[in-house]
């Protein structure tokens, strides 16, 4: 069968149209989702790696290097085996920071636009031979099938079709998260097609040429014949090749795009690590049978095209068609995807850093069209190189030249992943030297050779005399050496060190807790409007907020820092990290602060949580311990809140959220002053106070009743190398305790009344007796004036009884029930006098003398009855401890904002061994039945409720070794001293 170029081109167009339709149907959702999004589609799409270089070139490689051709497949397989160490970190980085290419990654890590520029330049220069190779493969095969073909117009036509394909399915949107589902499906289709085609050709070679499996074995034995024997593979050649192809998933722009951009699903990357090698194995398997079949049939074509000539020699046109379309498929896939990814790289690092678009126009549209234009430029340059190369070089030479150039990026990648000390100067030095050696020893000689020689197909210079492996190792060695030495002996900037923490796999991304100048989302939009224009600024801020799940009214410093990071990442996806970093650093700056930089603890914890599935061994155990402590802290039955020195909340546990009604997500990262007013007032006043412990009451949120909270605080523990910062506050709900305590107070009050009962009976009995006598006298008195006098006396006695009863009733009921307190300004002297009056009802009242020396002008804000309970308890104890006729003094004086009240007796004093326990509940030294042990405890509690403090000193009269002095400090009420009850 004759193959005319017209027929060939028609069939080619038909096949490319089929790819178009496949992509279109997938893009429009006409293909069932469970098929279009099947993980196998992703795995097959990775088969784009097996370009025409693998499809045709691997047979040529096998011809020259025997099993050395396996490096092409095993290199990628090894990289995928260790994907958790090599690929996963880059996947995470590219997802988190919207890094679309290796140049983005380097610019992000080494913090320099020149790094991105140089990387892009290197990748473009190295990839052009690879893309020219694809065009050459197509035209070579057409020329081979129809020698009368005019190659260059056909190549141009195919390039234009691929350009249209790339633009239609690879540059439809500018969003950094853009996925090319149609393109992916088409790539999977073409990968499957070329795999099936290659396997069939291999099968045909085995069955048609050798007849059977045994036939191959017999032939392979014959292959020992020096005529067909391949030269032995040298280890240096093997390891040079392996180095090139191990680095392939990182340095090939189209593989980078597939592995790190087209899927956010890590399980697919994990699946690729074992499934993709199966694909590679199947692609590698037919190579030797095809080679031997070509040799066996005496093919006169280049070994690279044995798969094509097999059908011709066997007179099986369908095999030739299959081989041709498989090759076309392999070449088309890489051309489309590589041009898309290289265009994106070129825009971010060759255009945008040096040309600022006008943001008043629709910048998204501008970016999209520039990307489309750049796709055209990439394909155009590939075509131009193809013309310059003039089909002189074989595919293997072109492929090895391209891979050697790309290999120069390997030291930079290793530095990025494993060495925090690497810096941009080292990277630029190493890469420049490596590229210069590559260009001078491989690329330029190849071009020179092509320009000097005529149009002929012959094995090029590269595989002869093992020139290429020497160049590969020398260029890589000098590159790596320069990279290390320059990095070691030059200064690494702070930005690079910070980026190293993010990139190096042994580090965790540690951000600093720096205050931003922009205080809320509106200010973000305002400031970003200047460089981006209002529309784009709003759109980017809202997109970042949506990603983070934050509201438009977000104001928390932590949230604003994350918003800034996300905006930077999104802009990085649009314009590259260099432009994004510069833009964000300028328009969303941090405030200049004298304070030492602090880790953003919450962010740090979240990152650690994200990593913990990857940890093994001791690191995993330590992380388990960390999470255990974290959970313990979080589930403590007491509210815990950790505050930085600037008031930012770093920790807000579950009970804290329950008690305050402020959920953790709203509290963490907020400043204290942004909490609801009641909680801010409470926490802020506590922090500003001197005391480390405080009990306060707080109205309920529903306005009904009150709750009591006990606050404790302690400064953060100082770490070895960092100054002290922040405070931990514990918040305990004491409401139930307080209600119980209130019950206790009431019981104690009733007990006091009980103890007073005998005295009260006596006090009431006397006037009642008097009234009785007066009433009897009344019968015998007829004089109205005398009757009036007796009546007045009866009323006087009745009034005395009423006063006693009323004071008892007041005392008994004060503060009972719901525990509500009602603090009112009240003269301190009167409080003390009320207590003395009540005690005077006691039968023992006459034994001691109470002297109230409290000044009249001292007013306290108090609940008078509860405060009088304090003095009743203190004076009662003093009376019990004092000998008969002794004096008990109550003195008070003002001291700044406080009233200092002293209750001094001359009793037996308190033994030193019990003085530390006298305020403990149920502690008593009295006989059983005479004391409950609650008196001083309640007195202490009541004083604290009044924001006061009580202390004891015994002996009060040291010289004599007797007496006790209770000192009570109460806040004075000065604002309304005239108010009295």
């Amino acid at each position: 069968m004759d193959f005319s170029w017209q027929l060939l081109i028609s069939v080619s167009l038909g096949y490319l149209l089929l790819l178009f339709l496949t992509a279109y149907c997938a893009e429009r959702g006409w293909i069932p989702q469970n098929l279009a999004r099947h993980p196998l589609v992703y795995i097959l799409a990775l088969g784009v790696y097996c370009s025409a270089f693998a499809y045709y070139g691997s047979v040529g490689l096998a011809y020259h290097l025997g099993y050395g051709y396996l490096a092409l497949y095993l290199g990628l397989a090894i990289a995928l085996v260790f994907s958790a160490i090599i690929l996963r970190p880059i996947h995470d980085l590219s997802r988190s920071y919207q890094l679309a290419s290796l140049a983005d990654l380097f610019a992000f890590r080494y913090r320099s636009r020149w790094v991105g520029f140089l990387t892009t330049l290197g990748v473009v220069l190295a990839m052009l031979p690879m893309l020219a190779l694809q065009i050459q493969a197509i035209t070579d095969t057409i020329t081979l099938l129809d020698p009368n073909t005019m190659a260059w117009p056909l190549a141009l036509l195919i390039c234009l079709i691929l350009l249209a394909f790339s633009i239609l399915f690879g540059a439809r949107d500018i969003a950094p998260t853009e996925k090319h589902r149609g393109l992916m499906f088409a790539l999977a289709f073409e990968s499957l097609f070329k795999l099936v085609a290659f396997l069939i050709i291999g099968g045909v070679a085995a069955l048609e040429v050798f007849g059977s499996w045994q036939g191959i074995t017999q032939w392979s034995t014959l292959a020992l014949n020096p005529q067909f024997q391949t030269p032995p593979l040298q280890p240096v050649q093997w390891f040079s090749l392996l180095l090139m192809f191990v680095s392939a998933p990182l340095v090939l722009p189209h593989l980078f795009q597939l592995l790190f951009r087209e899927t956010s699903n890590l399980s697919r990357l994990r699946m690729a690590s074992w499934a993709m090698p199966i694909y590679l194995l199947l692609m590698a398997l037919p190579v030797m049978p095809i080679l031997w079949a070509g040799q066996s049939l005496g093919s006169t074509t280049s070994p690279e095209y044995f798969s094509l000539s097999l059908g011709l020699l066997l007179d099986k046109p369908w095999v030739t068609w299959l081989a041709y379309l498989g090759g076309l498929s392999a070449a088309a896939g890489i051309t489309v995807l590589a041009s898309i990814s290289m265009a994106s790289m070129a825009m971010n690092h060759l255009v945008l850093p040096f040309y600022k678009p006008s943001f008043s126009a629709d910048v998204y549209r501008w970016l999209l069209w520039v990307r489309r234009l750049l796709i055209g430029v990439v394909i155009g340059l590939s075509y131009a190189l193809y013309l310059l190369l003039n089909q002189v070089q074989n595919l293997t030479s072109l492929g090895i030249t391209a891979f050697t150039g790309l290999l120069q990026l390997l030291p930079g990648i290793l530095g990025l992943l494993f060495w925090a000390g690497a810096n941009r100067k080292g990277f630029v030095s190493g890469l420049t030297l490596g590229l210069l050696i590559w260009a001078s020893s491989l690329a330029i000689p190849m071009l020179a050779e092509s320009l000097s020689f005529g149009n002929q197909l012959r094995m090029g210079f590269a595989l002869e005399a093992d020139h290429w492996s020497l160049t590969t190792l020398v260029s890589l060695g000098i590159n790596a050496l320069a990279f290390v030495l320059v990095s070691l002996f030059t200064r690494t900037s702070k930005e690079e060190k910070d980026a190293a923490h993010t990139c190096v796999i042994t580090s965790v991304d540690r951000r600093h807790r720096l205050p931003l100048k922009a205080r809320n989302v509106s200010e973000f939009i305002e400031t970003l409007s200047r460089p981006l224009g209002r529309i784009m600024a709003e759109r980017e801020v809202k997109r970042a907020l949506k990603t983070l799940g934050f509201p438009l009214g977000e104001y928390r410093p932590y949230a604003l820092r994350r918003l800034r990071d996300t905006i930077e990442a999104n802009l990085s996806g649009l314009m590259g990290p260099s432009v994004a970093q510069a833009l964000v650093a300028r328009y969303l700056p941090y405030e200049q602060s004298e304070r030492a930089e602090r880790d953003d603890i919450y962010f740090f914890e979240q990152r650690l949580d994200g990593y913990h599935h990857q940890l093994t061994g001791m690191a995993a155990e330590l992380d388990r311990l960390r999470r255990h402590h974290r959970e313990t802290l979080y589930n403590l039955p007491i509210g815990v809140c950790s505050l930085a020195s600037d008031g930012e909340i770093l920790l807000w546990n579950r009970v804290m959220a329950d008690m305050t009604g402020i959920i953790e997500a709203e509290a963490i990262g907020a400043r204290l002053d942004s909490l609801p007013a009641n909680w801010y007032d409470l926490l802020d006043s506590f922090l500003k106070g001197q005391s480390n412990k405080l009990t306060v009451e707080q109205p309920n949120a529903d306005g009904r009743g009150k709750r009591w909270f006990s606050l404790h605080r302690s400064a953060q523990v100082q770490r070895r190398d960092e100054p002290l910062e922040g405070t931990v506050i514990l918040l305990e709900d004491e409401t139930e305790h307080k209600l119980l305590e209130s019950e206790l107070v009431h019981s104690e009050r009733l007990a006091s009344i009980g103890r007073l009962a005998a005295g009260v009976a006596h006090e009431i009995g006397n006037p009642i007796t008097g009234i009785d006598c007066l009433a009897q006298d009344l019968k015998y008195v007829s004089d109205p004036a005398e009757q009036q006098l007796i009546a007045d006396q009866i009323r006087e006695q009745a009034g005395r009884v009423t006063k006693i009863v009323r004071s008892l009733v007041n005392f008994a009921h004060a503060g009972q029930g719901d525990g509500k307190t009602d603090h009112q300004p009240y003269p301190l002297r009167q409080v003390v006098q009320d207590a003395i009056d009540l005690l005077s009802l006691s039968r023992d009242a006459q034994r001691v003398i109470f002297i109230n020396e409290v000044a009249d002008d001292l007013t306290v804000l108090c609940e008078a009855q509860r405060l009088s309970q304090v003095f009743i308890n203190l004076l009662g104890n003093a009376r019990d401890a004092s000998p008969d006729g002794e004096v008990i003094r109550i003195q008070a004086e003002a001291e700044v904002e406080s009233a200092i009240v002293e209750v001094i007796d001359r009793g037996t004093g308190i033994p030193a061994d019990v003085i530390d326990h006298i305020f403990d509940p149920f502690f008593t030294t009295k006989e059983v039945g005479k004391g409950t042990g609650l008196g001083l405890f309640l007195a202490y509690t009541i004083v604290e409720e009044h924001y006061g403090h009580m202390a004891v000193d015994s002996p009060a009269f040291a010289a004599e070794g007797i007496g006790t002095r209770f000192t009570i400090r109460l806040p004075l009420h000065r604002l309304l001293p005239e108010v009295t009850p």
Binding site: L70, V81, T217, T221, L233, P235, P277, L281, A284
Partner: protein, 55 residues
Amino acid sequence: MSLSLLLKLLILPFYLLLPFSLDGTETVQLWYLPFLIWTGLILVNALAEYLRSRR
């Protein structure tokens, strides 16, 4: 070190030396041997990935 990583490190030398697996046999009758070894390595790697996914 996890078992999955250990398995991967164990198979690495086989990957690195795969093309030399026929050296010393003085024959290429077992031309498919590298592919058989490779298949074994794929299975071991799949096992390692399975172990990793269970962690």
